[in-house]
Symmetry: none
């Protein structure tokens, strides 16, 4: 029952979010609320009204990127080829995290930390979509056996972490994604070439 925000409240909320985004972009994800209030030119109280905790602000920051990710995840369930789905999904996951460090942090923590129901809801939908993609790939025998939904999630977060370690993450993502996908793919059962591997 989210009633529409009053005009000025919405304006302030946006201002705080924008400031927080700027602060986060500078590499500081600790999001000190009073500092943000100062830079946004609003009272501390205002920040606390909109975002009672650092985590609530973090999730609000990540919300857009999360929505985009969900869109792409939905798309990933719709293609014909099961493996394409996996690839689309993981690329979306990866890009989302690189484009928005807040999303990276949200995805790297569990639902128990969630401050906002919307986040948990998104998390659940994302899980459901990923489960579909996973199931199709598994059924098609394309996915390495033994991998759970959680494993996928962890590995894609790890890959985002890896990319962030690079000097130019953007120029490394595709390669790292390729590595990840190759690693996830079911090993060649006929494997005559390299039996010992």
């Amino acid at each position: 029952m989210t009633t529409t925000l009053r005009a000025d409240a919405a304006r302030n909320r946006e201002r705080v979010l924008a400031t927080a985004r700027a602060v986060a972009a500078e590499g500081d994800l600790s999001l000190p609320l009073n500092e943000i209030a100062r830079r946004a030119g609003v009272g501390v109280g205002t920040v606390y009204r909109h975002f009672p905790t650092r985590r609530a602000l973090l999730e609000a920051l990540a919300a857009d990127a999360f929505a985009t990710l969900l869109d792409q995840a939905r798309a990933a369930t719709r293609g014909d080829d099961p493996w394409d789905g996996v690839e689309l999904l993981l690329r979306a996951f990866l890009r989302g995290q690189l484009d928005d460090p807040a999303l990276a942090e949200v995805l790297s923590t569990s639902a128990e930390e969630d401050a906002i129901a919307q986040t948990t809801a998104g998390r659940e939908e994302l899980g459901a979509l990923a489960a579909i993609v996973l199931a199709r790939a598994t059924r098609a025998g394309r996915l390495r056996p033994g991998l759970t939904l959680d494993d996928l999630q962890h590995l894609v977060c790890g890959t985002a972490f890896a990319a962030r370690l690079a000097d130019a993450p953007d120029r490394r993502v595709e390669l790292y994604l390729t590595v990840l996908l190759a690693g996830l793919r079911a090993p060649d059962p006929t494997g005559a070439a390299r039996p010992a591997d």
Copy 2:
């Protein structure tokens, strides 16, 4: 260069390290120096004398695990099979990080952050050893083209990160390592089986 410490100084140093290790083991890597001093039963000043910064303490904490890793990296350069070398190296990397969170943090940062020369030296030796392993695997055509030494480093740190996200990291490492290795391996050049991938 390293003058031998007075007996009591050495004892204090060890006490601080042990306490820090205990604190880190409890999951708190922020290493609050005051708290550590208190728990170690020494003055804060003593902690600062031995470890001027949090980072210096972190590297001291990681030193043992780092040495072990170097040993294993040396071993990895000595085997017959180029790919075995890669596997040994990455497994050592991974285990080292899981067994010692301090090492994980050290390996996930760059030499510029180093507070202690020994760390940088270790880093360089590790790089040299990894370069050997990498070169052999590359020469044997076993490694996916385009991967640099840094990429390996990032990916293995990312994999450690992924494992730490799991509820029971230790039960997931081998699987994640398998995924990583499979992803790093050069793709089958004859690739008749799955043309579209």
Copy 3:
């Protein structure tokens, strides 16, 4: 003088008072206006319109108990026995304060603090009634010499304070009241028994 309130305004006023009473009953007499507004389901502004200060709200809260006390004080002036009047008056004072902490606070402060004319008026009437009771008891030689109206007021507030310190105030009031009355009573002039006291 008091213009009749619009129906909704009156409803809001009552709602705020009821909430404040509930909050006070929970033992928190600080009456945080924001909190009360929230719990009453009205805006803070509404609370401020009806009760410009915390004190105004406090006095409004105490008003009923104050009126009851006035009734009993009037009755105390009407009996035959002068001492009965004192007893009735003080018991009413005491009970009123224990039953309503807001009244206790109002009675323990002076008219200068009053935010509402009605409170000051009540205070004055109460003073006049008590003066009557006091005068009759004094004239009958039943009251310890030297006690002023203010002294009575202070002592009865102090006795209420004493009762509130007890674990079960209600089970201690009568005893404490007995002590107070015995203390206020004029000492036996024939006092042959214990001359030195």
Copy 4:
């Protein structure tokens, strides 16, 4: 095992206490630690080191007056006349609270609130001494039956409260004390004169 404070530490502690005393004397017993630090010219941290909570500071403030009270309570157990003991004890109680508002607050709260062991210890010794005085007076049939140690404590705190309500507490204490003592004294058993009271 209170080791002697370092000279500068002791100086600071005293400075904080003095400032707190000044603040309390101005009538503000809320003892805001920040404000006190500022006025004392020391860092907040210093205040917190010496007095972790407002309550700890309050008890430290009250300590001297508490010690004096204990001295007088000891004296009250030593006299010949049981009733003199009661009088000495209650006068000491009363004067202590009026002279030091911090002591008044400490005595009006229970041991559960105590932040400092010394306070609880003092409280216990005071209780023991009062028990002696009470027992002697009771045995001598001088004390009104039914009164417990706690009742005495509550009533004397209430009387201090009453005195504080007066414009010139110091000029009212003796009278209020007389009232209290008269109230506590066992009623005349031969009481033929005023049967109904």
